[in-house]
């Protein structure tokens, strides 16, 4: 009887803490925002700017997150090395860009600039996809049926290996993307105090286009269908005559291509790349994928955008009104708190697939 009572009390305590956490976070968000907005230190234009930069960051997260989510969907594997695949793409784009800049093609005129960006993307995608397929072949494929944690550790190993391979190849220094003149120009919007560059537009538009393309590809094409089938149930898909291996390899390739493209966009907007570049965006994109519901393609897009906004607007909105010193230092604290909050309310992410209940 005593044990029953204790258990009941613990149950109640657990529920209490849960609700306490939810209420505390919501309260913090509401009060912080109210104080910040009430303080009126920031103009509407600066909020707009924050939203745009959040959207840009979020688009890049979303593109990387697609790779995480697709691989997770098909193999139930957290592909820790995906951030490094992204970094490799950024490097690939860099070398194409410097080559083009060296012969004066990059900024010759707007058309060559656009061709250059396309070439950079192509270079980045080639590098990323090659690397991703190598990693899949060497570090993941032999472990496909091993217990869950084994490929995870292998993925962590691959992540370190790639990082320090690139450090060995290119040294610890920072490589800077050459500037593409037309992309650095302002979009003439005519709003005082609110500026958007063409590159911001390019990032958001190309991210949306790529994601839409991917979504259609997965939903409409035969190959996409086979990827979905393998995600659902490998054994059954194999019985239906689907080449499981091919579907998995394609998944890695598509995810890597998205990451490579994201790498070039990242390079164009943030202009720097070194061997450590992939680590943080990798973790963030993974977070975005989980936020949206891992294994779910629209979820990854949504999660990326959401995370970008939380990071872009969150610190200023929630914390600056509360008088927290250096609120932007805490942007990741906000991002991860939001993640936990979302998971408490929706344990499988915003658009998460319902947790499969086997019976």
């Amino acid at each position: 009887m005593y044990a029953r009572v204790m258990e009941r009390i613990t149950d109640v305590a657990i529920a209490g803490v849960l609700w306490g956490f939810r209420i505390a976070v919501v309260l913090l968000v509401v009060v912080g925002s109210a104080l910040t907005l009430g303080g009126g230190r920031h103009s509407a234009e600066s909020w707009l700017s924050l939203i745009v930069s959040g959207a840009v960051l979020g688009s890049i997260y979303a593109l990387i997150a697609l790779g995480y989510t697709m691989v997770y969907g098909i193999l139930r594997l957290i592909n820790f090395a995906h951030g490094e695949i992204f970094m490799a793409g950024t490097f690939g784009g860099y070398f194409v860009a410097t080559a083009l800049s060296g012969i004066g093609f990059l900024n010759l005129n707007p058309i060559t600039s656009i061709i250059s960006v396309v070439l950079m993307m192509a270079g980045a995608i080639v590098v990323s996809v090659t690397l991703a397929l190598l990693v899949e072949r060497i570090a993941y494929r032999p472990l496909r049926n091993a217990p869950r944690l084994v490929p995870l550790i292998s993925a962590i190993g691959a992540s370190f290996f790639l990082q320090y391979t690139f450090r060995g190849f290119f040294g610890p220094g920072i490589y800077a993307y050459p500037t593409v003149g037309i992309l650095d120009a302002q979009v003439p919007l005519g709003i005082e105090g609110f500026r958007v560059k063409w590159i911001d537009v390019l990032v958001i538009v190309s991210a949306v286009v790529m994601m839409a393309g991917l979504f259609l590809f997965v939903q409409r094409t035969k190959l996409g269908t086979s990827i979905r089938a393998v995600s659902e149930d490998k054994a059954t898909a194999a019985l239906m005559g689907i080449d499981v291996n091919r579907a998995i390899v394609m998944t890695f390739a598509i995810g890597a291509a998205m990451a490579g493209a994201a790498g070039v966009l990242y390079g164009l907007i943030f202009r720097q790349v070194y061997f450590f570049t992939g680590f943080v965006p990798g973790i963030k994109a993974f977070t975005a994928a989980v936020l949206g519901g891992i294994g779910n393609i629209p979820g990854a897009m949504l999660g990326g955008i959401f995370l970008g906004q939380v990071e872009g607007v969150g610190p200023t909105l929630f914390l600056s009104g509360l008088g927290v010193p250096s609120p932007n230092q805490l942007r990741d604290v906000i991002a991860f708190t939001m993640l936990v909050l979302v998971l408490i309310f929706r344990p499988s992410g915003i658009l998460g697939e319902r947790v499969a209940q086997r019976a």
Partner: protein, 442 residues
Amino acid sequence: MRNTLRWSAVLTGMLLVLAACQPASSGSPGQSTAESASAAASVDAAAVCAADEAGCVEIPSGEPLHIVFWGVLSGADSTLGEDSKRGVEIAIDDINNTLLGHDIQFSTEDGLCTPEGGNTAAQKLAADTTIAGLIGPSCTDESLGGMQTLYDAGMTTISSSATRAGLTVPDRPAEYAAFLRTAHSDYFQGRMVAEYLYNELGLKKLATVHDGSGYAKALAEVARTHFEELGGTITTGGDQAIAKTDTDMSAVLTAIAADPPDAIFFPVFIAGAGYLTDQAKDTPGLEDALLMSADGTFSPDYIKAAGPAALGHLISSPDTSKFAAGYQDFLAKHKAKYGGDPLSIFHAHAYDAATLVFAALEKVALTDADGTTFIPRTAYREALYASKDVEGLTGPLNCNASGDCGAPILAVYKVTAREVGPPVVWPPEAPIWAPEPDFYTK
């Protein structure tokens, strides 16, 4: 059963190894018994070594003389350590790889720029009785972690890039005697920035951004404090921080722009500074703010990272134009050896640290009849502290009692179209401003 057995086997193996290495007596390190072979000839050296409270490093004839650089060689900050390491390597090349009749054996230890990394590295260094000279570490945190261990072992290190003010204050703790540096103290750099902005340019409102690293936080604090002492104000929201790995600076810049300052000082590292410079130009309200960063960004990489936005940017840094004439040669050697420009600003300081080490070793080393060289540790430390007017790349080197060896010749640089390129040209020809010499004595 099987596991137990395997375990026992492994551990027994360890025991065998350990039995072979068991010390005969718990004498202090360095007081080796191996000199018996040459007892007669080394009366002089033996007496000196016995008298030296930390004992001697001894290098038998034909053995190399061991020089070590320790600092951050892996992880995101590894440019800093790599840069200094190259400085030491070139210094060793310049003395043809020999010192005191021995070849030089150069090795490195990774300190990871963390206190525990410094601590472990120091333990390894302290255990190695062959080490004659020690250069490093890269970071203040490593210094703090390793100081006590090195001091206990009677070793002395000289750093080229740990700049925290507290490391060389006159009333520093006893164990800091193991630490000298050729790098300047942040105390001077932070104050100089404030003086330049307030007195020279007449600016009244300042904002600072640090990146959560010890270096940046301390430097920003010195600058802010001194700026206010001079009569300036720090803007509302003018004490900001970013994370080292941040790339999108718009939020922090928008926060600063809410009360626009005349100048923003961000003594952060290359990546972050590049992002801040680049993105500040696009933040409404900050168009006219002067941007300034510190020695951590005195590198062509910074210009590349910031892009065209770097034009007009201010950098406080050691004054390379006052570096000795040999500096140009150094740059040429660097290019030939490593295929590129230096990675950071402290290679010359590392070169100088090596020079000081070589000079001090030459001063105190004793060689007996069969060519064994003895280096009394305490005497070596004293010799380092007594270094006077040693010719270095950064200028004449004079060590004082609290461990500062380099003359702090700081200056303010302005990035011009020449450096921005393309191609990026480095370093800038001359600083635009330098404090009066009496600044360092005030």
